[in-house]
Symmetry: C2
Subunit: 319 residues, 2 copies
């Protein structure tokens, strides 16, 4: 019995996507402790920061230190978001294992977010891949197609635009391309249809599902993505970040609830829910007053509940 190979990869985005969305700036030491607790819970891929000008995002000014700390954990893929080649260069110098580049399928959103058209972002992907090839060939490059399921600026986003863009990113050298429901507009039928179409275009270079829970469909959309073969899911501890509209309406899918769903279904995520819930404490300390979401942490695990493959190995820690 091989208990160390999970069925599902949960890619925790809290330290980047979460912290980038809150007003407060978490202290570097608190970030590092939080990352340690995520690793201790069994998470094996963590988006720890973004490499952007400190003027734009003071929350990410300590990116190099955070990466350095995260790299002390063996067996964890340390990931950073980079919007352009300058960010990629810094991230590669810092020693990350994986870069993720946000490429928006909505021109309106792309221009508002990075002041580039989708076509120009494809060129940015190509430049980043060249940089990676030159500086650190083993590093993986992911292009995450944002607003893939709809855009608050543009409204409907054509599915052919999403498929075209994912294909272009792969042709530009990205190792994988996933789909992000940036604005919480996806539905399960659309998730199945669009991932099917993307897979038909780029095969096993199809990457993660990054779903939001803005309208309550986060887990249903993850289930739909799982049904059509997606095995990597982005989520955030306590649902931090994303695009919360209102109290109770978290943006990102809550890692605790997502892990609970998959483990309950008999799928091994490699993550220990109790330790995951314990990791919330570092958010409470590091971001006092910030609302923490999650239904499973509130309700507790069901009586008699045991994760089907409980004795998974926990990734080694440097501590």
């Amino acid at each position: 019995m091989n208990i160390s190979v999970p069925d599902i990869l949960i890619s925790e985005v809290g330290p980047r996507d979460g912290l980038q969305s809150v007003k407060a700036t978490m202290r570097t030491a608190d970030k590092c402790q939080w990352i340690d607790s995520l690793v201790a819970a069994g998470l094996r891929e963590i988006e720890v920061c973004s490499f952007v000008p400190a003027k734009t995002l003071p929350q990410m000014a300590d990116a190099v230190e955070v990466v350095r700390h995260a790299l002390t954990h063996r067996g964890v893929t340390v990931m950073a978001l980079v919007p352009n080649r300058r960010g990629a260069e810094s991230a590669l110098k810092a020693g990350v294992h994986k870069l993720t580049i946000p490429v928006s399928a909505s021109t309106a959103h792309s221009l508002a977010n990075v002041r580039k058209t989708p076509e120009e972002m494809v060129e940015e992907v190509r430049a980043i891949v060249a940089l990676r090839d030159a500086m650190a060939p083993s590093v993986k490059v992911e292009a995450g197609i944002s607003t893939a399921f709809g855009c608050t600026l543009q409204g409907v986003v054509a599915e052919e635009d999403v498929v075209w863009l994912a294909k272009k990113c792969i042709m530009a050298g990205a190792d994988e391309s996933g789909l992000s429901d940036t604005t919480g507009m996806a539905n399960p039928a659309q998730v199945r249809r669009l991932f099917d179409k993307v897979r038909a275009a780029i095969g096993d270079k199809t990457g993660a599902a990054h779903m939001h829970n803005t309208r309550g469909l986060g887990l249903a959309n993850c289930l739909a993505a799982y049904d059509v073969g997606v095995r990597t899911f982005d989520s955030s501890l306590a649902g931090l970040g994303g695009c919360p509209y209102a109290p109770g309406a978290s943006g990102n899918v809550v890692t605790e609830d997502l892990v609970f769903m998959f483990e309950s279904m008999g799928l091994n995520t490699g993550v220990n829910i109790e330790r995951l819930i314990a990791a919330r404490e570092f958010l409470r300390v590091g971001l006092p007053g910030e609302p923490l979401y999650g239904m499973v942490p509130e309700a507790g695990l069901p009586k008699g509940w045991t994760a089907p493959k409980r004795q998974h190995s926990v990734v080694g820690s440097a501590a």
Copy 2:
């Protein structure tokens, strides 16, 4: 194009399941206005009350009046919960269209809830069916298998117990038997497996999925049930009722979010979401201070969103 036959039947349980769970007693006139607003939104099946001793549940003391009012709406199936033959007799006298009998698959829960074993409840179903045959043969009888996915008292509930009980209820004369996740312990894999097994045993007498959102999996479980052929779903406006543990953790699946999910998928529920959201106002008035759940009402409909089959006919109202 037949726009009047929806793909999905949403069975609204708020006036019974919801009101039964809150401490306050809603005034009869407020209940009637709320029911009117639900009908105006296009809901075609409403569980309007339960027939239980007023001493036990003062919230339901006006059951006869509420049924009388609900019956003034044409085209709406007026449903009542009855735990025993005495309740069934009162409900049949009042003129309801459909009876629902809660039959628990967990002996511990059954004894705690109705002081009868599951086997004794099957005999109650048989007696109620006999009463129905004698008094009002056109009335439908549903046996809802509660704690079908787990029990807070007993823990795990064996799937063969659930299938056996559903079969026994149908053999006792019930027209349909659905499955209830009374305690919010279901997961999508279990929902698919168990509904498949029940359908293998009782065929098209398989009834509604009554899911709870206790641990955030409500919509994912409804999607899973839809995938294996379930077309009737219980839910509650604003998630009223069920078994809420904590702020933000609603018990029942929220009708607004459920309708949004299915309509977004291109399925016709016959329900107009804007009117559904407007119906929340009657809850605010009738139950001041009661928390109202729902992600779609908080976040609003997405930009550019249109339900695929928007021009559905709305069920006739007496007003």
